[in-house]
């Protein structure tokens, strides 16, 4: 009620900008294409990213199930998928298995997590949360989505070329990846992989320059940098990370492409023969790729978590009805993670053959990057302390982000310790670690974001009961799948083996792996609940109104869903984003647009 009234007063005061365009001849096909397909509206582009990435999320999840099937019951007939792909009856070939985990990681990282955070949420939220009518460069923005399509096609088509999709791991280490004879997927599959990767990079770069420009130049009057919600801070710093790190990956990708197709030898030493095939003239160094790759891909780890951290901060404050504990330390720690993130890439290479003295340097910087993460965790705990916690679905996902991020953060310390890393490197311990950060962390943050901003996206709220069922089952199955990986890693169980049970050290681990696979199947099946809830609520959910959660930030002053141009009035910002439960205020939240006299009057009335 109060929101609607405050915005109507503002609307009459502010210079009203007419949004209607002069009438034109109706051209339904062109209208449809420009509104929903080649749209330059940031919200439509954001939703395009969201739907595309959710489809790939499903594909990546099914790939993961196939991987889990082989680990639990090696060489047994694969249901459904076995008939489609496997060569030996229903049984999975080992080269098919290597392709599966390579493409699972590739799809999840490059086609799901990075584009869903920056592309979907970044696009949808940045202009709305800073009070802008759109992105700074709408055409670039449209291109950033459409450059994903060559990547979708390249990665998708690679499954059907001779030899199958790329199978040298998502890290694509030479000379396995550079020599076309090294494995079946090292032919066309690998070339398409590199092309797809480059296109994802172009898309990210176009998005990144746009986000930085928009956040710096297009904030509403009164929206100072230190009044930005954490989501926007996180998106901003993520964009900076991408802008600095991506060129290195692009260059490295082109070098690998040249090694494969033009006979250069950036990554192959002299006389390197793989499977009786000499690919390049040589004179190169396989470790060079690892340095270049991780110089991008370690910052990319933070590109894959920082936006989720920002979103979770906003959601937790809203449902704890409390200001964010330590706003500035939260901003500085994101910046600290981003800065340190550029000097820790070598911790992926402790046992790679890199100079061990260099390993010590990277170990120290890696230990230090745990610090800003710890500060963030303590501040989240400080945020729920003394709050009035509402257990909505979005809040439950946000809380589980924090709870799971603690596990993912702490397990990182084991790998950061170089001597321990000697034993657990490339075992299931690291698999547990990054799934706790990326799935139990980021994916939970993404779900929190979907449940929280769904009303703004579609004007309707999702079903809370089924949302909570979705949360509960995902939470249980997820921990069943991933927590057990820690103890598997403690045995030294190596990742990427099609069958490890013929080793004396690992032969007794099959029952545990079968348990994990059952949990993974349950986890994927649970998403059916989410899919039904998502699509049903889009059309039949309860009408949300502008501000269903009584939140403070600017997007909640706009209509749900906002029209082209976002705001039906010029938003003016008077305060920070987390003014919940201000003593003396008549309601428990002061929106960023509420004029200051309301708060001052309320305070004066108390004193």
């Amino acid at each position: 009620m109060s929101i609607a009234s405050s915005s109507t007063t503002l609307q009459t005061e502010a210079t009203h900008q007419p949004l209607q365009r002069p009438a034109r001849k109706p051209r339904p096909v062109a209208e449809f294409l420009s509104t929903y397909v080649f749209s330059k509206d940031h919200k439509v582009i954001g939703l395009q990213f969201l739907f595309s990435t959710l489809v790939w999320f499903l594909i990546g999840g099914l790939l993961a199930l196939a991987v889990r099937w082989q680990i639990a019951w090696p060489w047994s007939d694969v249901p459904v998928l076995g008939k489609l792909f496997a060569q030996q009856g229903g049984q999975m070939a080992p080269e098919f298995y290597t392709m599966l985990f390579t493409m699972h990681a590739t799809v999840m990282i490059f086609l799901v997590i990075i584009p869903i955070l920056a592309g979907a949420f970044g696009n949808f939220l940045i202009p709305l949360m800073i009070g802008a009518d759109d992105m700074a460069f709408p055409t670039l923005n449209m291109l950033s989505y459409w450059f994903m399509w060559p990547a979708f096609i390249a990665f998708g088509a690679s499954f059907f070329v001779e030899g199958g999709a790329a199978s040298s791991g998502w890290t694509s280490y030479p000379t396995l990846s550079t020599n076309v004879a090294s494995s079946p997927g090292a032919g066309w599959g690998q070339t398409l992989w590199l092309l797809g990767l480059t296109m994802v990079g172009v898309s990210s770069m176009l998005g990144s320059v746009n986000y930085m420009t928009t956040i710096i130049l297009m904030r509403a009057p009164g929206m100072t940098m230190f009044r930005l919600p954490m989501t926007i801070w996180a998106m901003f710093i993520t964009a900076v990370l991408q802008a600095f790190a991506l060129p290195v990956l692009t260059a490295a990708g082109f070098m690998q492409l040249a090694d494969r197709t033009l006979g250069t030898g950036f990554f192959s030493p002299e006389g390197n023969i793989v499977n009786n095939w000499m690919q390049a003239t040589g004179g190169g160094q396989p470790l060079l790729w690892q340095h270049l790759f991780w110089f991008y891909s370690h910052p990319a780890v933070y590109i894959m978590i920082l936006p989720a951290m920002g979103m979770v901060s906003d959601i937790m404050t809203c449902f704890a009805r409390k200001p964010l504990f330590g706003y500035r330390p939260m901003v500085y720690s994101i910046a600290g993670i981003a800065g340190l993130g550029f000097i820790v890439w070598g911790h992926h290479m402790f046992i790679s053959g890199m100079n061990p003295a260099l390993g010590i340097t990277f170990m120290v910087s890696t230990m230090m990057i745990a610090l800003p993460s710890a500060v963030k965790t303590f501040n989240w705990l400080g945020t729920i302390w003394g709050g009035k916690i509402q257990f909505t679905t979005a809040m439950l996902f946000a809380l589980s982000f924090v709870s799971m991020f603690i596990i993912g953060g702490l397990s990182g310390i084991f790998m950061a310790a170089t001597p321990v890393d000697i034993f657990i490197h490339d075992t299931y311990f690291i698999v547990a670690h990054f799934h706790y950060v990326l799935f139990a962390g980021t994916a939970m943050g993404v779900w929190a974001g979907i449940y929280y901003w769904f009303p703004k996206m579609f004007g309707r709220t999702m079903n809370e009961f089924w949302g909570k069922v979705h949360f509960f089952l995902t939470f249980i199955f997820m921990n069943g799948t991933f927590f057990t990986m820690h103890i598997l890693g403690a045995v030294g169980f190596p990742r990427r083996l099609a069958d490890a049970y013929h080793y004396e050290t690992f032969h007794h681990l099959q029952p545990l792996n079968a348990f994990m696979t059952w949990c993974a199947i349950g986890m994927v099946a649970t998403q059916i609940i989410f899919a039904i809830n998502f699509f049903w609520s889009m059309f039949y959910g309860p009408i949300a109104g502008r501000n269903p959660w009584n939140a403070n930030t600017l997007e909640w002053t706009a209509p749900s869903p906002p029209g082209h141009g976002n705001f039906d009035f010029q938003p003016v910002v008077y305060r920070g984003p987390y003014e919940y439960s201000v003593p003396g205020a008549e309601k428990d939240h002061l929106m960023q647009t509420d004029p200051p006299n309301a708060a001052a009057a309320a305070l004066a009335a108390v004193h």
Binding site: S167, T175, L176, G353, P419, F472, F483, G492
Partner: protein, 266 residues
């Protein structure tokens, strides 16, 4: 009803530390734990593992319990009056920055010596054996009777590594084709083999027995079957084995032209 849902969700978050600790407590009983260590340096690696486990375990249980308690106590259905209006605390920020920073720095310095022992302080000796990884086997080359690698009397074997117990062993690790990783779980050794590089690996085994050699870096479709065995045995048994293998290899060789043999060995 609302209060019940608050209780339910707080207890779910309480289950995280409870079941988490339980998993680690029960795992060793099912032998799902660090494999038996038979190396000299392994004790300090395992010690560091346990130290970090204890440290992170305390932080894990502490933070997760705090989270449970806040959810339990500050449930909106239970709380009277508004939420506490607080923007943060400078003192707390300083405390929870300094303490983790000091702990992490201590941890960083504390482990350096072990790392240096395993990867930097190479024993002054000539290589015991050269291990050359290739798709999908471990090729071994012992120096033969003259103790020097690269001479005509070198002994060539595949996947069957023997080393003497209680002695420094120096392995010269190479790769013929792609990346591999020489992983000896029981000896707490892992080192990537890189084409174009010669990487030294050393250890001292403290117990006799037969153990796995695993490839830990993806090397192609047959990565899973790149399996070897390492036999740790007494000096006498080792010498006897070496001599037997050497005799077997010699017996299969006709009177070779020495110059040809040199070319082959190089």
């Amino acid at each position: 009803m609302n209060r019940l849902s608050g209780i339910f969700w707080s207890l779910l978050f309480l289950a995280v530390p409870v079941l988490g600790v339980a998993t680690f407590a029960v795992a060793p009983a099912f032998d799902i734990w660090l494999p038996k260590d038979v190396s000299e340096h392994g004790k300090s690696i395992d010690g560091l593992f346990y130290f970090i486990l204890a440290l992170t375990g305390v932080v894990f249980v502490g933070t997760e319990l705090a989270m449970f308690w806040f959810l339990w106590k500050y449930d909106a259905a239970k709380a009277k009056g508004p939420a506490t209006y607080i923007q943060g605390s400078h003192t707390l920020e300083v405390v929870w920055t300094i303490i983790p920073a000091a702990t992490l720095l201590f941890l960083a310095i504390y482990q350096m010596n072990t790392w240096a022992d395993v990867k930097m302080r190479r024993p002054a000796m000539s290589p015991t054996v050269e291990v050359v990884a290739r798709q999908f086997e471990w090729r071994l080359r012992y120096p033969g009777r003259d103790g020097t690698l690269g001479t005509p009397d070198d002994l060539f074997l595949v996947n069957d590594l023997h080393v003497p117990v209680d002695e420094d062993v120096l392995v010269q690790l190479k790769s013929m084709d792609v990346l591999h990783s020489f992983f000896l779980p029981n000896l707490r050794i892992k080192q990537d083999a890189v084409p174009g590089m010669k990487i030294p690996v050393w250890f001292k085994a403290t117990e006799t027995g037969q153990f796995d050699i695993v490839c830990a870096e993806l090397c192609g479709w047959g990565h899973y079957k790149m399996k070897g065995r390492v036999t740790v045995e007494s000096r006498e048994d080792f010498d006897r084995w070496l001599e037997a293998k050497y005799a077997a290899q010699e017996s299969t060789q006709p009177e070779a032209d020495p110059s040809e043999a040199v070319a082959l060995a190089n």
